[in-house]
Symmetry: C2
Subunit: 398 residues, 2 copies
C-alpha cells in the first residue's frame, strides 16, 4: 500500500477520535472541482482530485462515507478508508440527503473559519448549496465550524507524517550544503536559485511552494525583503546573502532559511555588526525553542524572540516568529505570532505535542543586508526539539 | 515584459469593460494564503501567490487598487496593472474600509456562485470576514455574485490566450504522435503513461492536471472508465486503448483524448463493431462542432452529439459533451452538457466568441473497450473552429 492511502486511513481514523473530543456528531467536507479551488482537507480524505460535488462524511460513531461523482468513485474506494463510497451520475442531493437522514446528526461541522485559512476550504457558493440541501431535510440549523477538527487533524502529526517532514528537511539541508560551494561574488540571485532548482530536479522532487519564490534569494541591502523572485542582482563582497527554500517529499514540506556572508578582500571573518546581527538571530531562535512546551500560547513564544531582537537595538520583524508546517509550508492554525489583526486569534492558541513549527526571526544590518535563519522544531510532551540541524555559524563565502 | 504581466494588464482592463456591461460598480477578489485555498481569479490579478488577507478591487470607473500584505506588494506593483498597491503590516481592515468609503460602490461583486466553481473562489470564512468589515461602514447590503464578470473574463479569450492554448495543443499532439510509435502489445498502462510524462519532462513542461491521472490510459474492457490512474494492465491485441492527456504552456491548458486499436493476428483493420463505434464518435464530434455558434445554449450542442450516440445503439455517456478550457483543463461556466442537477444552469448559458470548448463523447464497444476522442474548438463570430487537428482515423497498432 502506498503512503497516500496509509495516511488517508490513519487520518480518517484520527478524525473520528478528534470528533469525539469536540462534541460534533459529524464532519462534512463538501467540495467540487478540487483542481480549481479545492478544500485543503481533501488530501486527508482522497488520494487525488475530485470533479463533481463531493461529500466526505465522518461521524463520531465511527461511520465513514464518501458520496462522489461516479468517475471519482474507484480511486477513493481503493483507499480502504470508507465503509462505503457512493458514486452518482446526475446529482449529489438525493444520496446526500438520504445518508444524513439516516445519520441524524445534531451538530454538523463544516470547513469554514474566519481565523484559519487551513480550516476554510468551503467556498461560499458551496455553503449556499449545502445549506439548501440540508434545509429540505430540516438539518440546516445544525451547522458549525469544524475548525477544531481540521486544526487538530493537521497539527497532531503522526510518526508517518514526521518522518516525511524529516525527509524533506534532509533534502533541503543537502541542497544548502551544495549551494554553499556554488555561491561566489558575481553570481546573480537568479543563477543561485537556478542551481538549487536543478539540484532538486535531479532528485525528481518539487518545491514546497511556487517556484517563482522557492528558493527566494536576497543579496545585499535594498532588496524586496521577502516573497519576491530572485533578480539579476549579483552577490558582492561585504554583503549578506540569505535564502528561503523548502521542498515537498511524499506530500510534506520543509521551510527553511539560511544566511551567508561574502568576505571582502582581507577579511577572514564578517565585520562586527554582521556578527552581532547573526548572533542575535541565533540566540532569539534558541531561546524561543527553549520556551516552547505544550499548553503555552504562541504569542508568548513570539514575544521571547521579538524582545531579544528589539533589546539588541533592531527593529522588530513585521511578521510572526513562526508558523506550522505540514502539507503546505504554511499549515495549521496555532501560530507563534504577535497579537496583530491579520493573525486574528491564532497567536492565542496553545501548543500541542506533534505540532511542527518554523522559527524565523529577521533583522536588517544597514548597508549589509538581512540576517534571517529559519529552523524547524516539533513540540514534544515536555518541550520542543529541532527537526533541522540549526545554523549556528554564519556561512562565509570567499 | 513577460507574458504573466502582459496578461494581467490585459485581463484587468477587460474586467473594467465587462463590469460596465453588468451594472456592478466594483468587483472585489478577497483572498489569503492562496497556496492553500486560493481564488482561481487570482491568476488574472497577481503574478504569484499572496500570503495575508488581500483585496483586488476593480471599479467600473476604471480604478484598480490592490491592498495586500507588505511582503506581497512589490511583485504586484511590478505588473503595472494597478494605479496603487497598498502594503499593510498589521491588518487589512483599515485600508480596505478607507478605500471603499471613498469609492462608495452601490453594487459590489464578490467571487461566489452556486453554479460555477470557477466563479466561487471566496471561502465562507472570508465572506464572513468581509461582511463584518463592510458592515462597519454600512456597505454590507450591497453584495452580489460577480459570476458574470468572472465567467466572461475567463471565457472571452484574447488572442494572447488563444495562442498559448494552441501551443499547449501542439505539444499534446506531438506527444500523441510519439506514443503512437511506442505502444505495442504487452506494454502496460503505467509504462505508456510514463513514456508520455518523460517526453513532457524533456520539454520542461507540466501536465494540465494532476500527474496521477494525466495522462490517463485505459486499455481493453472493464477499466475504471475515467479519472483513474494508469494500472499494470497490459495492451492486448483485439483491444481498444484510449488516453486522456493535457499540458500547460504559459499558464494555459490543453485537454485531449485519442483512441487506438491493437490489431489481432491476421487483422489489417479493426473489426466492424470497433469501426462503427469510432465512426459514430467522429460523426458526433463533427456534427456538434457544426451546430456551435454564438447565442446557442450548450445543452443544444450536447443534445446533437448525445442523440447520434444513442441513435447508433449505444448507451449515452454519463458526463457532459464538452467543457471550457483555459487556465485549467476544466474552466469557465457555460457547458455543453445535459440538464442534470450536477450541472445546475451551466448548460443553459449561451456560447460567445472566444470560448474554447472540448468535445468528448464516449461509448463502449463490448469486449473491446471504450472509444473516446476529445477535440478542442473555439467559438468564432459565426460558428466554431477546431483548434486541435481532429482524429478522423482510428490509430492502429501492430
Amino acid at each position: 500500500m502506498d503512503i497516500t492511502n496509509i495516511l488517508i486511513k490513519e487520518k480518517t481514523e484520527q478524525a473520528v477520535k478528534i470528533l469525539r473530543e469536540t462534541g460534533l456528531d459529524c464532519w462534512i467536507t463538501f467540495t467540487r472541482e478540487s483542481e480549481i479551488c479545492g478544500d485543503p482537507s481533501l488530501v486527508f480524505l482522497a488520494p487525488g482530485q475530485v470533479t463533481w460535488h463531493s461529500a466526505f462524511i465522518i461521524a463520531a460513531s465511527g461511520q465513514k462515507r464518501a458520496i462522489v461523482g461516479l468517475y471519482d468513485k474507484k480511486a477513493i474506494e481503493d483507499t480502504g478508508a470508507y465503509e462505503a463510497v457512493e458514486g452518482y451520475v446526475t446529482g449529489i442531493k438525493e444520496p446526500l440527503q438520504k445518508f444524513l437522514q439516516q445519520l441524524q446528526p445534531r451538530k454538523i461541522g463544516l470547513n469554514y473559519s474566519r481565523t484559519s485559512e487551513i480550516c476554510d476550504g468551503l467556498t461560499y457558493g458551496m455553503y449556499l448549496t449545502l445549506f439548501d440541501i440540508l434545509k429540505e431535510i430540516g438539518l440546516e440549523t445544525r451547522l458549525e465550524s469544524a475548525e477544531k477538527i481540521v486544526s487538530a487533524l493537521r497539527e497532531r502529526k503522526s510518526p508517518v507524517e514526521i518522518q516525511a517532514i524529516k525527509r524533506a528537511i534532509a533534502t533541503t539541508e543537502e541542497i544548502f550544503e551544495r549551494v554553499r560551494l556554488f555561491i561566489s561574488p558575481g553570481k546573480s540571485e537568479k543563477e543561485i536559485a537556478q542551481f538549487m532548482l536543478d539540484e532538486l530536479k535531479k532528485k525528481g522532487l518539487q518545491t514546497a511552494w511556487g517556484q517563482s519564490t522557492c528558493p527566494a534569494v536576497f543579496t545585499g541591502p535594498d532588496t524586496a525583503q521577502a516573497h519576491y523572485s530572485p533578480t539579476d542582482r549579483r552577490a558582492e563582497p561585504g554583503h549578506i546573502l540569505n535564502m528561503d527554500f523548502g521542498v515537498r517529499v511524499d506530500g510534506y514540506c520543509s521551510d527553511m532559511q539560511r544566511t551567508f556572508y561574502l568576505l571582502s578582500q582581507g577579511e577572514s571573518q564578517a565585520p562586527p555588526e554582521v556578527r552581532h546581527g547573526f548572533e542575535t538571530i541565533v540566540r532569539a531562535i534558541e531561546e524561543a525553542r527553549a520556551a516552547m512546551r505544550p499548553g503555552i500560547q504562541g504569542v508568548k513564544i513570539d514575544e521571547v524572540a521579538r524582545r531579544i531582537i528589539t533589546a539588541a537595538g533592531y527593529d522588530q520583524f513585521p511578521h510572526a516568529l513562526g508558523h506550522q508546517v505540514g502539507r503546505f509550508a504554511h499549515d495549521g492554525t496555532a501560530l507563534l505570532g504577535p497579537a496583530w489583526e491579520k493573525y486574528a486569534d491564532k497567536p492565542f492558541r496553545t501548543l500541542e505535542p506533534g505540532m511542527v513549527f518554523t522559527l524565523e526571526p529577521r533583522l536588517t544590518v544597514p548597508e549589509r543586508g538581512v540576517v534571517t535563519i529559519e529552523e524547524m522544531v516539533v513540540v514534544t510532551d515536555s518541550g520542543a526539539e529541532y527537526l533541522s540541524r540549526p545554523q549556528k555559524e554564519l556561512w562565509l563565502i570567499g
